[in-house]
C-alpha cells in the first residue's frame, strides 16, 4: 500500500507540536484515500517518541537513531530522509514548516526528484498529486498550488490543523544509519540559545508579543510580568527585533516565526500585514494599543484601546486574581 509519511521534528528533547498537527492531517488524508499513514523520527533518542506518535494514528514508524542528530545538521538529516524515502516510496512526505525543515526541503526535493510545495496553510490529495493553499505576496493573498510528481514533499505552517488523537499500535521500523562527525563538510561550532529557558514560541499555549509601543525598560518589564503570570512565551514585532530590544529569534511574522497559540496578546503592535500573517491562526487574539485605528484591532477578538502603561498593571493584577 502506498503511504503518506510524516516527519516528526524533535527539538530539545521534545516532539514539536506542529509535527503532530501535520500527522493528524496526514492521518485524515490517508484514511480518505486508502493510504498508509506512516511517520519518521530522526533523533538521538528517536525510539523514545514512538508511543506519543502512534497516539496520532501512524501505523508504521520509521526510526533513525544516531548521536549526530542531537543537534540540527542538514547533511545527515538529508541522508536519513533520503534513505527512508527510497526504502518506503511514499506518495507524500509531510513536514511541519520549522527552520529545520526549511533548511533541507529544497535539497531533499532535488535529491529525490520529488515535487515540492513549502509553507502551506492547507493541503489535500488529488488524483494527479497534491493541491495546497499558501500565503503569497507578503501574505496578502492566498495562492492555490497544484503539485505533481511520484513523490511530493509538503511543509505545513504551524497552527494550520488541529491535533486529533487516534491511538493505534504502530509497527516500528528501525533504519540502520551510521554517520560520524568527520563525514560532515559543514561543522556546527555551537548554538547560541539566546532565548535561554524561555518558552518556545512554536509550542507556546500563550504568547505575549511586544511591538513598537514597548519603548523602555518599564514597558519591557510589564511584558515580562504579564508573560510570567500567564506562563506565556514572549514574542516581538520586527520593529523591536530590528531595534535590538528583543532577540531576532523572537520575531513573529511572515519572515519570522509563524505561531498559533490558544491566546495571543499583542501589546503596542500596530498590526502590519506581515506581522498578522505570523499570528492570525491564534485561537484568541487580544490587542492593546492606544491608537484606536490600528489595524491590529481588525483581527483582535478583544481590543483594548489604551496606553499600555495604564492598561497592563490592572490587566496583570486581574489575571493574577483569576489564576489564584
Amino acid at each position: 500500500m502506498s503511504s503518506i509519511l510524516t516527519y516528526i521534528a524533535i527539538s530539545e528533547g521534545k516532539i514539536k507540536r506542529s509535527s503532530l498537527e501535520v500527522l493528524s492531517r496526514s492521518k485524515a488524508i490517508a484514511d480518505a484515500n486508502g493510504l498508509a499513514c506512516e511517520a519518521i523520527i530522526i533523533d538521538e533518542n528517536a525510539s523514545s517518541f514512538t508511543d506519543s506518535v502512534q497516539n496520532y494514528g501512524a501505523s508504521k514508524i520509521h526510526i533513525v537513531e544516531d548521536s549526530i542528530f542531537s543537534q540540527h545538521r542538514n547533511t545527515p538529516l538529508l541522508s536519513a530522509l533520503s534513505k527512508v524515502m527510497e526504502a518506503s516510496k511514499p506518495k507524500v512526505v509531510a513536514f511541519a514548516s520549522t527552520e529545520g525543515t526549511k533548511d533541507i526541503l529544497g535539497a531533499l526535493a532535488a535529491n529525490q526528484k520529488a515535487g515540492v510545495v513549502a509553507d502551506v496553510s492547507s493541503f489535500d490529495l488529488t488524483s494527479s498529486g497534491v493541491i495546497a493553499k499558501r500565503p503569497v505576496m507578503a501574505a496578502k493573498v492566498v495562492g492555490n498550488v497544484e503539485v505533481t510528481g511520484e513523490t511530493i514533499l509538503v511543509s505545513v505552517r504551524s497552527g494550520s490543523y488541529e491535533l486529533v488523537e487516534s491511538p493505534i499500535t504502530a509497527e516500528v521500523n528501525t533504519i540502520e544509519f551510521s554517520s560520524s562527525e568527520s563525514d560532515l563538510k559543514a561543522k556546527l561550532r555551537e548554538i547560541i540559545s539566546a532565548t535561554g529557558d524561555t518558552i518556545d514560541l512554536n509550542e507556546a499555549e500563550t504568547i505575549v508579543a511586544a511591538g513598537r509601543g514597548v519603548k523602555d525598560e518599564e514597558a519591557k518589564s510589564l511584558i515580562t510580568e504579564l508573560a510570567r503570570v500567564l506562563n506565556a512565551g514572549i514574542g516581538a514585532s520586527r520593529a523591536l527585533t530590528e531595534a535590538g530590544v528583543y532577540d531576532p529569534s523572537l520575531q513573529i511574522g511572515q519572515t519570522g516565526k509563524v505561531v498559533s497559540p490558544q491566546l495571543y496578546i499583542a501589546v503596542g503592535i500596530s498590526g502590519a500585514i506581515q506581522h498578522v500573517a505570523g499570528m492570525a491562526n491564534s485561537k484568541v487574539i487580544v490587542a492593546i494599543n492606544k491608537d484606536a485605528d490600528a489595524p491590529i484591532f481588525e483581527v483582535a477578538d478583544y481590543g483594548i484601546v489604551g496606553d499600555l502603561y495604564k492598561v497592563l498593571p490592572p490587566f496583570i493584577e486581574e489575571l493574577k486574581k483569576l489564576k489564584s
Binding site: 526541503l105 532565548t195 484568541v284 477578538d301 486581574e318
Partner: protein
C-alpha cells in the same frame, strides 16, 4: 574570495494589485530586486570589501530583468550575468534551480549566495536545491557571515537559537534580510553601473530548452485570504476595560 550571488526580479509586493477571476493582476508594472537577494548582495560586498574579492551577480528573467542586475551593479557588484528567458511566470523553484545549476556547474567561486526566499512567493526552496544539485556544503537562513581562514562562518537562525556553522569553500548560503540593511546605490554607483559588464546568456547555450523546465508545481489561482473577524473593541477608563477583558478571557473565551 569570489562570490556568486543569485538575484531575482520580483513584483513589488507593496504595489497595489487586484484579484480577478482567480488571476492576480498587478496595477503597475513595478519590478524590484528581491529584498532577501539585496541582503545577499550587500553581505557579499561587505565581505569582499573587507577581505578582498569579487562579486558577480546572476539573474534569470526577461529583458527587463537587466534593470535588476543594474541595481546590484549600482550597489557595487563587479559583473552581471543575465540568463534571458522569454517569460518566467510558469517557473517554479525547481526550474530556477536547474537553470542556475547549468550555469554554475563549470564556474569557479568560493561562495554561492542567494536570498533565502522570494518576496512574492516565499517558498525558500531554490537555494538548498542548487546546493544539492551542485553538491555544495550549504546552510540556509543566515543572519550573519564572516570569513575565517578561508572558511565561511555562518550565523544561522535555527529553531532553538543561532547556530554557528563553519563551511569550507566552495559552499552555498541563503541569506535572511535580518543580516543587514542593503545599501541604496548612490549616484556614483548608478553611473558606474552603466559601464559594468553584463553577459547575456540564453538557455540554449546552457543546454536547456524552456520545455525541459516544465515545473512540478504551479499556482492555478489566487484568492483573498480569509479575513479574521474583528471582535469587541473596548474604549474608556483603562483600569476598567483592562479588568473587564481579563475577566472575559476567563469566563467567555476560556483561555486563562
Amino acid at each position: 574570495m569570489k562570490f556568486y550571488v543569485c538575484i531575482k526580479m520580483v513584483p513589488d509586493v507593496y504595489a497595489p494589485f487586484q484579484i480577478k477571476d482567480g488571476e492576480l493582476i498587478m496595477d503597475a508594472d513595478r519590478m524590484v530586486l528581491n529584498a532577501y537577494d539585496a541582503s545577499a548582495v550587500e553581505e557579499a560586498l561587505v565581505l569582499s570589501e573587507k577581505h578582498g574579492g569579487e562579486v558577480e551577480v546572476v539573474c534569470i528573467g526577461s529583458a527587463k530583468a537587466s534593470e535588476t542586475i543594474r541595481k546590484a551593479l549600482a550597489m557595487g557588484a563587479d559583473k552581471g550575468s543575465h540568463i534571458v528567458t522569454t517569460g518566467d511566470e510558469g517557473f517554479d523553484s525547481g526550474s530556477y534551480a536547474n537553470i542556475l545549476t547549468a550555469f554554475l556547474k563549470d564556474k569557479e567561486y568560493d561562495v554561492l549566495s542567494l536570498g533565502k526566499q522570494s518576496q512574492d512567493t516565499d517558498s525558500g526552496l531554490t537555494g538548498s536545491m542548487v546546493a544539492e544539485l551542485l553538491h555544495l556544503p550549504y546552510t540556509t537562513n543566515a543572519v550573519g557571515l564572516e570569513i575565517e581562514n578561508g572558511n565561511l562562518i555562518v550565523k544561522r537562525q535555527g529553531d532553538t537559537g543561532q547556530e554557528i556553522i563553519e563551511l569550507p569553500t566552495p559552499c552555498a548560503v541563503t541569506c535572511s534580510n535580518d543580516m543587514n540593511e542593503p545599501r541604496i546605490p548612490n549616484l556614483k554607483g548608478i553611473m558606474a553601473s552603466k559601464r559594468k559588464p553584463i553577459d547575456t546568456i540564453d538557455l540554449a547555450s546552457l543546454g536547456i530548452s524552456e520545455s525541459d523546465l516544465s515545473p512540478n508545481s504551479k499556482v492555478v489561482s489566487f484568492e483573498h485570504k480569509p479575513a479574521r473577524k474583528a471582535g469587541q473593541k473596548f474604549e474608556g477608563e483603562a483600569d476598567e476595560i483592562a479588568r473587564e477583558v481579563a475577566q472575559l478571557l476567563d469566563t467567555e473565551a476560556n483561555v486563562i
